[in-house]
């Protein structure tokens, strides 16, 4: 169950990363289709890193001498990670939900006080969550896996951003 929560949070993070890297790169007024494609790209990116994480987990499990202890240790670490990731996700989703209220000032305030700062602290939350998760783990395999997953999570936005930048560069070369 804990791993399922982490997986869902990874998908949500990918979705939002996909949206974020696409913003400011299309100047049309009506662009639901553009954003929908960007969100799908983010979701697929998150799916790729989740799959890589799962493969790594299975490999470690296959070759670890502590197979029984490893599962318990991983579950403990994942549960601790949730204590950091879940409140962060709730705060981000709450900020987005507030933007449903039709007030320009309130919506702007969610950017200034919510989404902007939350974007700024995202990498730190990632690092804090994983470190808190693996800090008290008993096995070196859990720690290595945690750090590997942290690397994947941090690289997601970087790669999505590179793709979006390349598409933007191509489009601008066509129009100017």
């Amino acid at each position: 169950m804990t791993l399922l929560w982490l997986y869902l949070l990874a998908l949500l993070d990918g979705l939002l990363c996909g949206g974020r890297v696409s913003m400011g790169r299309c100047a049309l007024i009506r662009k639901r289709g553009y954003y929908a494609r960007a969100l799908v790209r983010g979701l697929l990116g998150a799916q790729v890193i989740s799959t890589l994480a799962l493969v790594a987990l299975l490999l470690v499990d296959r070759f670890s001498p502590h197979q029984t202890d490893l599962v318990l240790d991983l579950e403990d670490a994942a549960e601790r990670m949730l204590w950091v990731f879940l409140p962060y996700a709730v705060a981000v989703v709450a900020s987005l939900a507030l933007r449903m209220i039709p007030s320009t000032d309130l919506r702007s305030a969610t950017s200034v006080l919510g989404l902007g700062p939350f974007t700024a602290i995202r990498p730190f939350v990632m690092v804090a969550g994983v470190l808190y998760g693996i800090w008290r783990s008993q096995l070196v395999e859990t720690r290595v896996l945690g750090l590997f997953i942290l690397g994947l999570m941090l690289s997601l936005e970087y790669f999505l951003n590179r793709g979006a930048a390349a598409r933007q560069r191509k489009e601008i070369r066509e129009v100017v």
Partner: protein, 311 residues
Amino acid sequence: MFASWNPAQPEITDLIVQHDPYTLARVRVRKQDVLEVFGKFGNRKAIRAVEGLPERDGWLDEKEIDRLLVRTHWEMQRLGEEFYHGPRVYELLRAVIAAIRKGGFEGELKVVDVGCGIGYDIRWLAARTELAKKGVELTGFDLNSALIHEANRLSAAEQLPCRFLHGDAFSLDHSGHIFLSTGVIHHFRGQGLREFLERHERPETQAFLHFDFQPWFLAPYGSWFFHFLRMRTALARHDGVLSAARAHSAGTLAEAARCAAPGFASGIYGAKIWNTPAPRVFHTLLGIRRPLIEALGKALGRRAWRLGELR
């Protein structure tokens, strides 16, 4: 104060694109000249940004500069979207239009965006409101032909009822009943600000709405934070923050308008959030013909409290 926040200096975009004031033809810009301007202010951030600009034999590469400007304006539009700038413009504009109509004007009403860039305000109004169907002509002007080309391309892609023209919005070849702008007015300083406002004194012009950053002590910090997070080019990050530092105070804007365009009653609209002391990011210099003031108040309805003193 950081050197890059010194309001006495121009923005990078003020210098890297130059036009002949009469023919509007593009004038080549020597990179070293731009660097020397920022060197005088000790603005290393601007110097680094300018050093990174593409050049050919010491002259800025016009095509690459245009590409950079288009990219920057796409990003600026994102900030406009995030802060719901379109609805903010429409909120005041529709009240001004209602007041003008109430005053007896029945013909086609010309709304002109001065220094429209890629025309976000005008395209948003064309796409999201019924103004065009209600006899309002939406036009944007800019001196930069690449930005106007992009505005027209975007408008055509969505088949929007608006147009964009390369040139001077106040030239005698064009007329405007309402002039508006966003983030433009702080580029005019001192006597230049008065001259800009004087140009609104045309018989057909009924009102002007100039949206710009509202200066207060946290504005440059907030602007720095947001431009760091949201903008991707060194140029946009530098100029965005400097814009907030250079923004005119409400008093400066209102006094300049009252002196330079005495045919209008001028004041500030939308300075505070929900009638609290908290300032909005943008405020608006509003000028309107005096006989329309009462109708404007009624058209604003429950938002009339946002209107400052008009005189």
